[in-house]
Amino acid sequence: MPDKVVKTPYPVIDADPHFSRVVRYFRPADYATWAAGTAAFPALLYFWNMADPIPRVRHRTALRLGGLLGFAGGFLMAYQNSSLRFWGWTENKREEEMDLAELRQRIAEGKPLYPDSTQPGWIQDVAYRNSVWSQLKFQAFPMFNFVNHQHHGTDPAKYGVKDKETLE
């Protein structure tokens, strides 16, 4: 599958960021989205019951289950928001600076730009092809990137990487 070049209004930080990186780069607004998503589900259920009461039915279990579903939905939305900034689709100044600082620090410490994976190269490639852009279909199926592959769509030189050997 050839890599799709997408025109983005902001600089690309990472075309397919690792799960932990996406979560680490959450803004307070993302946590607020997550919390709002968690709360909104049972709230909707509660207000629906106010509009159309179901007689003699306890709602405690349904509200808890709704909270769990809302927790999942809120997380997916927050994850999407963070990923959109990594892709450069939304404003990402803060993340750009964090990314530069983090990866330059790794270079300074003599580590590879992105963490190494224990998986063979072809598995990393498969993982990349499966997870890239998958956030756009979170409404149906969640597919996160849990593999430290080397496909990130950025120029290593901007982090101070001199040549290919430094990367490895």
Binding site: L45, H59, A62, L65, A72, Q139, F141
Partner: protein, 518 residues
């Protein structure tokens, strides 16, 4: 979201402590909110400028385009609205959990079709959502089967009903046949070209058809393969002459299931056809022209002799499919715009019509519904059952009349504009004969819609007055949200004229996004 929710709900149903404390009505509401969340997540990534012509996901098996994101939203929103149509039963009903009644087993609760319904529609919607994103013949087949299996089971949801079971079996067998055709088409394409990816297939077709005088065996194989796939898809959307199953299945299934069958699979499959249609291949064009023509004619003529309301609406659907296929076959920016607008209009109008029919059924057969606790017994089957309903349920009758006028294409309702756009693009592209037939079809079909309206406003015998008095004093079985939805959708159909820009501009942008890639 849908996949995670399905896992959570399946575990929840399997857990006794949760199962005991979860009412089927609440389960339906949970599912409806899940759909709203899925629609919200879809909207969250609706970036037309960045997505542009689309990006491949899951190793290129699927793709996300601006259209697929918008249709995802439409599908989830519609799914959520359909789920609100379930009635709230009173305390004597077995659908409602009475916690103080100890002799009621858990199995009774979980066997409630209400619970199964919401789980199955989630599976089916997952298939529909994946189907509109398919970018490969393999993913197309898997998604269409995921969607279809859901609706087969859905139509046999009421296992005790002979008519529902026979409808489900018929749907399953004929659906299986159409799946076989699709699979055969895929096999043909693969055997001739060793390709399953849509993008590669388009490229190959463009190369092969660049010189019409030098078409090879490969192009023949691909053409026949594509024709078989499209025939299978036309079968699934009940386009004429492959429509025979639809009136029987729609009529014999409970209305709460029919509402799903007439809307959801059609949206996804029609958008899939929009994605795979290729105007370079003349055979495909002819196939769609014939199907559009027959759908309009048969949907109109055969609908005239119907005495059952759901059969009539099934033929009305076939006629609408004809208009949509006509828009598809023209394949210009204008016609694509008309096609997207027609689907949105069809979804809203059909949804409202069935919501009203359900509400009328709950009201007319209130006692049967509460006594037998079986939705299929509360359904309106014959058009004559609607006689004099204006005097019992004036608001519902007026709403139904507005929907039927809209379906007939009476200005200034929503349905008029959709037919107008399709006909305008057809005339603009030189399809004069088809346009005249479509106009005649639309005029003739107006007579069967008017027949229903006439029956609604014809005063019935004294019985209706007695019922009216009874209904005033009794608590309604129609939920407030159900009533609110009917009111909102009716107003949307009625007042579209005053604020048309939102929908029109959106469909124009989407249409342009398709043609900008070419």
């Amino acid at each position: 979201m849908i996949f995670i929710s399905l896992l959570i709900l399946i575990v929840a149903i399997a857990t006794p402590s949760i199962r005991i404390n979860l009412s089927p009505n609440l389960f339906i509401r949970l599912s409806a909110i899940i759909f709203i969340y899925a629609g919200g997540i879809s909207f969250n990534t609706f970036y037309i400028h960045s997505i542009e012509s689309g990006v491949g996901i899951y190793s290129g098996l699927y793709q996300v385009t601006a259209i697929s994101q918008l249709i995802d939203m439409l599908i989830y929103l519609t799914g959520s609205l359909i789920l609100t149509a379930w009635p709230i039963f009173n305390k004597n009903s077995t659908l409602e959990i009475n916690y103080e009644t100890v002799n009621k087993t858990n199995e009774d609760r979980i066997m409630n079709p209400c619970t199964e319904y919401s789980l199955i529609v989630m599976f089916s919607t997952l298939g529909a959502s994946l189907l509109i994103s398919s970018a490969d013949l393999i993913s197309l087949y898997l998604s269409i089967e995921l969607q279809s299996f859901g609706v087969y089971i859905l139509s046999t949801l009421y296992r005790d009903s002979e008519s529902a079971t026979s409808a489900g079996l018929k749907y399953f067998l004929l659906g299986g046949l159409s799946s076989c055709l699709i699979l055969l088409g895929i096999a043909l394409i693969y055997s001739y070209s060793a390709i399953t990816n849509f993008e590669s297939l388009y490229t190959l077709i463009s190369v092969l058809y660049s010189d019409f005088n030098n078409l090879s065996d490969i192009s023949t194989g691909i053409v026949y393969g594509l024709l078989l796939i499209l025939i299978g898809l036309l079968f699934k959307i009940a386009a004429a002459p492959l429509h025979n199953w639809a009136p029987d299945v729609y009529d014999n299934s409970p209305t709460i299931v029919t509402i799903w069958l007439t809307i959801m699979p059609k949206i996804s499959i029609l958008f899939l056809i929009l994605e795979i249609i290729n105007d370079k291949i003349i055979e495909i064009k002819y196939l769609f022209l014939i199907s559009a023509l027959l759908s309009i004619i048969l949907g109109t003529i055969v609908g005239l002799s119907q005495i059952k309301i759901k059969r009539l609406l099934a033929y009305s659907t076939i006629s609408h499919i004809g208009f949509m296929l006509l828009a598809l076959v023209i394949n210009t920016i204008q016609s694509t715009e008309a096609f997207i607008f027609y689907i949105i209009q069809y979804t809203l109008t059909n949804l409202n019509t069935f919501l009203i029919l359900l509400a009328l059924g709950y009201t007319i057969n209130r006692k049967i519904l509460l006594k037998n606790n079986n939705l299929i017994n509360s359904d309106i089957t014959l058009i004559s059952q609607l006689k004099g309903q204006f005097f019992n349920n004036p608001l519902l009758s007026i709403s139904l009349s507005i929907c039927l006028f809209s379906m007939a294409g009476v200005p200034p309702l929503l349905g008029f504009f959709s037919k107008y756009f399709v006909l305008y693009s057809a005339i603009f592209s030189g399809y004069y004969l088809l346009s005249i037939i479509a106009i005649l079809g639309s005029v003739i079909s107006a007579s069967y819609y008017l027949k229903i309206i006439k029956i609604l406003y014809t005063e019935d015998t004294k019985e209706s007055n007695i019922d009216k008095v009874d209904n005033v004093n009794e608590e309604s079985v129609i939920s407030n949200l159900h009533s609110f939805l009917i009111a909102s959708l009716t107003l949307l159909i009625l007042l579209f004229l005053f604020k048309p820009t939102l929908i029109l501009n959106s469909v124009q942008l989407l249409s342009l996004s398709i043609f900008n890639d070419c």
